[in-house]
């Protein structure tokens, strides 16, 4: 795990990420106003600027913004992990089948994935959410729908490269059945690009989930969601600037940390393309 602290930038990103993970797990015990973080309103306290009592100020319902942001870490990380996890599982499975079997099944899977890829992913998610109805779970499904083709294509290419290696042919000649070859040889060989892709995607998914929430199609009030909080503060940006600013900053830091770590992970696993 040394590579997570190999230089200043990566170390800072690792620490930020560690902070967000801690907040996601222990949020209710860390937040200064846990009840407000969970959604309880104090309308008489609304729109207090940042200060000693409320470090980051309060929102239109008088809730402590710091507590709300801390509470927002959990859904943000959850959606990132869930979307990337499911997309990776579905994509890997289809990619392995397409790459190893080839033929018509490869054609079908790849043409379907191209169909999905031919729409901008946010637009595709929008369409899906419109059909499914807004909400966290539906946003999650929508994002998985637009994300799996990337994994399917990545894994298919890797699988078809590994498939033509002599040791796979020889395994077949030694009587090792196709299922075992795919699972042991090919899956093991595609693990590295898979991990790198997952790391790079986590940040992007947080951003995409935030975007869906911002336009009102993701998490619904009163849940604490960063994208939702940016949206709630956007009309007040000139007078009560702290609401959008700090919640936007949370998204920004999380995405930045994930991206820097994704780069570090890629450099670590694939030294050939490491930055000079």
């Amino acid at each position: 795990m040394k590579f997570l602290f190999k230089d200043k930038l990566t170390s800072v990103a690792s620490l930020i990420l560690l902070l967000f993970v801690t907040l996601a797990i222990f949020g209710p015990w860390i937040a200064p106003f846990p009840k407000e973080g969970a959604g309880a309103s104090h309308v008489d306290n609304s729109y207090i600027g940042p200060g000693w009592h409320h470090l980051l100020g309060t929102d239109e319902l008088g809730r402590d913004l710091l507590s709300r942001i801390i509470y927002g870490a959990r859904p943000a990380l959850f959606i990132a992990l869930a979307v990337v996890g499911f997309a990776a599982i579905i994509g890997t499975l289809l990619g392995l089948i397409a790459g190893y079997r080839g033929g018509w099944i490869d054609n079908v899977i790849m043409r379907v994935s191209e169909l999905f890829l031919s729409f901008p992913s946010l637009l595709l998610s929008l369409v899906a959410v419109t059909f499914l109805g807004p909400g966290l779970v539906n946003a999650l499904i929508a994002l998985i729908i637009s994300w799996w083709p990337w994994y399917a294509r990545l894994i298919r290419v890797e699988a078809s490269i590994v498939k033509s290696k002599p040791y796979v042919e020889i395994s077949a000649a030694m009587g090792v059945p196709g299922r075992t070859i795919v699972l042991r040889h090919i899956l093991r060989n595609v693990t590295t690009p898979l991990i790198v892709q997952i790391a790079a995607d986590l940040g992007t998914v947080i951003l995409a989930a935030g975007s869906l929430a911002f336009i009102g199609l993701g998490s619904q009030p009163p849940s604490a969601d960063w994208g939702l909080m940016v949206a709630q503060g956007r009309n007040l940006i000139f007078d009560q600037w702290w609401i959008s600013t700090f919640s936007g900053l949370a998204i920004f830091l999380a995405v930045l940390a994930f991206n820097i770590l994704g780069d570090a992970l890629r450099d670590h696993f694939d030294p050939r393309i490491a930055r000079q």
């Binding site: 290696k165 002599p166 040791y167 796979v168 042919e169 020889i170 395994s171 000649a173 059945p177």
Partner: protein, 316 residues
């Protein structure tokens, strides 16, 4: 003697949809007796490896196969039968041992993967692998099992591959150019090893090589293939000492020898005809010094003394 493998009129065409692209195998006939070795020689591109793939049932999906392959105890080989006996009753070793193993697993893991297919108790596998590695002359088996392919030499990897093929004592071993990628001395050792394993375990062997001298060392019967057909076949001794077909003579004339210091090796002019074109008449005629108008028809494979020969110019 009992015949263990009989290949009759095996033809393979590569298809593009309904259209035949090329026909690299145009009628291969082979017969291997239990415990004996059949050597298959011929130039690159004559269809030696493709014959092995067809026997193993590992032809690419674009290939269409005709003719029959009969294996003792299992009748005609079809996909359903082959799935059960591939690797266990018919095993195969390949050229290029360096690329035969997955670089990210150690040798032990890869041998175990094969052993798990063979109804061997899990607990007995390590013991069995050590025994098999010892039988191919590697006494340091524990270290070999823990090694990754890049840590071993080509000769050691070839021994590992032989050990892998012989995990379950097969009835037939197909050796596809097993010494080609090795240097001469190691190649010689591996040949000796294969011979002694065969004497101990009694498997039959199909030995494929373009190296006539290697084939002569291990084979009981030799078949010479040219452009996807068997052109001459016979007991190794007769064929080596009394080659009949002009192509076989050419092949034997091209072997360098320590005795014949002076003089040039005779080369066969021209090259193997492309399987993309239709071959009319004797496929060797364009390169043959004896060819005349009779060779415009395809010669049948006929018995002449001990040998089977496909040539209009021999024995008449």
């Amino acid at each position: 003697m009992t015949t263990i493998l009989k290949v009759s009129d095996l033809q393979v065409d590569f298809m593009s949809g309904e259209k035949i692209l090329n026909s690299p195998l145009r009628g291969i006939n082979l017969e291997i007796e239990a415990g004996k070795t059949l050597g298959l020689v011929g130039e690159t591109g004559c269809g030696k490896t493709l014959t092995a793939s067809a026997i193993m049932g590992l032809l690419p999906t674009t290939a269409s196969q005709r003719g029959t392959i009969e294996f003792a105890g299992h009748g005609f080989l079809e996909a359903s039968v082959m799935g059960a006996i591939r690797g266990s009753e018919i095993a195969m070793i390949f050229q290029n041992p360096q690329s035969a193993f997955n670089p990210i697993f150690n040798i032990g893991a890869q041998l175990t993967m094969v052993a798990q297919r063979r109804n061997i108790e899990r607990g007995r596998i390590p013991e069995l692998l050590i025994d098999r590695l010892a039988s191919v002359g590697m006494s340091d088996a524990k270290r070999i099992l823990a090694s990754y392919p890049h840590e071993l030499s080509g000769g050691m990897l070839q021994r590992c591959m032989i050990a892998m093929a012989l995990i379950s004592t097969p009835k037939l071993l197909i050796a596809d150019e097993p010494t080609t990628a090795l240097d001469a001395t190691i190649g010689h050792q591996v040949l000796g090893l294969i011979r002694s394993l065969q004497q101990r375990q009694g498997f039959a062997m199909l030995f494929i090589s373009h190296d006539v001298s290697a084939v002569a060392k291990v084979s009981d019967v030799i078949s010479v293939v040219y452009a996807g057909r068997v052109v001459e076949s016979g007991p190794a001794y007769d064929l080596m000492n009394n080659p009949q077909h002009p192509y076989t003579r050419g092949l034997l004339g091209a072997i360098p020898s320590a005795q014949k210091r002076r003089g040039q090796l005779t080369a066969i002019p021209g090259s193997v005809p492309s399987s993309l074109k239709d071959i009319v008449g004797c496929s060797f005629a364009p390169r043959c010094a004896l060819a005349d108008s009779a060779c415009s028809k395809e010669p049948p494979l006929v018995h002449i003394n001990q040998q089977l020969i496909a040539c209009w110019k021999v024995g008449t």
